[in-house]
């Protein structure tokens, strides 16, 4: 379940990194904003949770477009470090904006699915948890089909493979970058809206999410979407099993231990392209 959330954000990170070569550190903060959008929409529209999910995707996608146009596009020719630092600045802006605008209170999104219990294979879980997994998988499959089979998806892959080559083929690379950013931000937004009813929504909730998402993208290989998905579930499992069998105290450390081990053996990540 947690793995699905991680995988959604990690997919966004992987896509944006693949196409724009930008490590988008503020994506966790965008998940947080998505959570708030969903929170306010459920509050206004009487628990219309489905509408809130769509709403958070749309709002965050537009935010992503704006961020690409005004923050990252001017930095396209500068060294890679600069966009990383810029993304970090963006994280500060988003988090403190949320802190000022929404306060420090922990908010809970009301979802009608949170109180329904279901039984599958002897396990009890709430409808909301199942919904998280299902929506995440649907989104992953849809995204995969979109990238693999549509003209726009092909263009995105082309830019990811070779920016100059794509430009020569008449692909508007900047527009593609904007679209990728919108998709990635939308994914982060829906991830925030999905985790809202289970965990709480608060201004710094994105920090752990984005750190984990980055660990996953590195684990799976930067820019590899399949790697991001599998890495997300691996990390979710490791955390759950580690907390159960080794130590709850060090739950958050397992992820990083695994990361260091993987990097030591396979520096380009599990599914990454070799650098040389």
């Amino acid at each position: 379940m947690v793995g699905s959330i991680y995988a959604l954000i990690a997919m966004g990170v992987a896509m944006i990194y693949g196409v724009m070569n930008v490590p988008h550190f503020a994506l966790g903060a965008k998940a947080m904003l998505g959570g708030y959008v969903a929170f306010f929409m459920t509050a206004f529209f009487h628990q219309a949770y489905g509408l809130a999910l769509v709403g958070s995707i749309v709002v965050l996608a537009f935010l992503g477009l704006g961020v690409e146009r005004w923050i990252f596009r001017p930095l396209a020719k500068a060294p890679g470090i600069n966009s990383f630092i810029s993304a970090f600045g963006l994280l500060l802006v988003f988090e403190n904006f949320a802190l000022i605008a929404f306060g420090t209170a922990y908010r809970r999104i009301l979802s009608p699915y949170d109180r329904q219990m279901i039984h599958i294979f002897g396990a009890n879980l709430t409808m909301q948890r199942l919904l998280v997994v299902i929506i995440a998988i649907v989104l992953m499959v849809a995204l995969h089909l979109f990238i693999k089979y549509t003209a726009l998806g092909t263009a995105i892959r082309a830019v990811a493979q070779n920016r100059r080559g794509a430009l020569l083929c008449g692909i508007h690379t900047e527009r593609i970058a904007g679209i990728t950013m919108a998709i990635g931000s939308g994914l982060a937004g829906v991830a925030g809206a999905l985790i809202g009813p289970l965990a709480m929504v608060y201004p710094t909730m994105g920090d752990t999410l984005i750190v984990k998402a980055f660990v996953i993208t590195i684990l799976g290989g930067m820019g590899s979407i399949i790697g991001a998905i599998i890495g997300g579930y691996i990390l979710g499992l490791i955390e759950a099993l580690g907390a159960m069998y080794v130590s709850v105290d060090y739950k958050d450390a397992f992820a990083f231990a695994v990361l260091v081990l993987v990097l030591a053996v396979r520096p380009q990540g599990l599914f990454g392209k070799s650098q040389r």
């Binding site: 990194y17 490590p23 923050i71 001017p74 930095l75 500068a78 060294p79 890679g80 470090i81 600069n82 990383f84 630092i85 810029s86 970090f88 600045g89 963006l90 994280l91 500060l92 802006v93 988090e95 403190n96 904006f97 000022i100 750190v211 980055f214 660990v215 590195i218 930067m222 105290d249 060090y250 958050d252 450390a253 992820a255 990083f256 231990a257 990361l259 260091v260 990097l263 030591a264 520096p267 650098q275």
Partner: protein, 326 residues
């Protein structure tokens, strides 16, 4: 020659101002801020060696800082070591951390390195928090004593109890670190690092051993960050795992970027600016971090070499009378 004497004059004036500061600043709180700015300057200077001169974004410097601080504080409080004797082991522990993470990740491309160092930082603060028996966990280590007095052979003792004395101590350490960095970047090592920053592939083709030089810069820088931590622990007299967390490292990055990446004085200017100005503009207290974030984005977009780099270009333009090639 004229240029040389001018630089010497500037340094002399800066030193004079720094030494006279405790007698000019009477406000205790402002003086505290100045001491903090000096300590953060040591950290920022150490990070500048990697970020500014070698082009590696390290987010583990908060952890190195914490490792140094904790090593010294534990040795002083639990083993009753002499403060001055704890400095070398503290720097060694921080450097060992740097070598460990460096060996694993320095061969990776830039972003992998940044994220791996960040993970290392998280693990360090997590361990400091959970290893309760040794580090007192989230309660932290309190009442860390001032540095041990130095006997002056018949002239009494040089004590470090007062804030003014600690200020001079921090200032001396900062001066030593600055001198060290200055010597390093003007040596063949510095030229190798600069080559790596500009073009790794070209540098390695010219026979620069990439891993060796990166590791060299990284471990020296980690040791220096540890030293900053030692001074911090003895000034603040209290440590908890948050001090080793990511934020100190992030702030150091911010100081450097705004002051000027890869400029010698950038870390100092950036730290002084960012530590004192927001406190003076109390009106914006709530919006402080929001504004800082925006400032960071604006600086990196329009002024990639920060305040110092911007001033340098401005001066060049005035003397040459035309836009410098860039």
């Amino acid at each position: 020659m004229r240029q040389g004497s001018k630089t010497a004059l500037t340094i002399a004036v800066a030193l004079l101002v720094a030494v006279a500061l405790p007698y000019v600043v009477t406000n205790d709180y402002l003086f505290h801020l100045i001491i903090m700015a000096v300590i953060w300057s040591i950290l920022a200077t150490s990070l500048n060696l990697v970020l500014g001169y070698t082009g590696l974004l390290s987010l583990a410097h908060g952890a190195f800082f914490g490792l140094g601080a904790y090593t010294s504080a534990l040795l002083v409080t639990k083993c009753d070591w002499n403060f001055w004797v704890t400095i070398p082991p503290s720097m060694l522990v921080a450097a060992a951390g740097g070598i460990l993470i460096g060996v694993l990740t320095l061969r990776l491309e830039g972003h992998y390195f940044a994220v791996s160092t960040m993970s290392f930082g998280i693990v360090v603060s997590l361990i400091l928090e959970k290893w309760d028996d040794l580090t007192e966990g989230p309660r932290g280590i309190s009442s860390i004593p001032a540095p041990t007095p130095i006997p002056l052979f018949g002239l009494g003792h040089l004590t470090f109890e007062s804030d003014t004395a600690k200020y001079y101590l921090a200032l001396a350490i900062l001066a030593i670190c600055l001198l060290f960095v200055w010597r390093m970047i003007h040596s063949p090592i510095g030229r190798a690092l600069e080559a790596i920053r500009q073009n790794e592939l070209l540098a390695s083709c010219l026979g620069v051993d990439l891993i060796y030089y990166k590791l060299l810069a990284f471990s020296f820088s980690a040791a220096m960050a540890g030293l900053a931590g030692v001074i911090y622990s003895t000034y603040i007299t209290y440590l908890n795992p948050v001090d080793a967390g990511l934020w100190n490292g992030f702030y150091a990055v911010m100081y450097i970027v705004i002051g000027g990446m890869g400029t010698f004085l950038g870390p100092l200017v950036g730290t002084l600016f960012l530590v004192t100005v927001p406190e003076i503009l109390r009106v914006f207290q709530d919006y402080r971090l929001l504004l800082l974030g925006a400032l960071l984005i604006l600086t990196i977009t329009f002024l990639p070499d920060g305040i110092v780099g911007g001033l340098k270009r401005l001066r060049q333009r005035r003397t040459v009378g035309a836009m410098p090639p860039r």
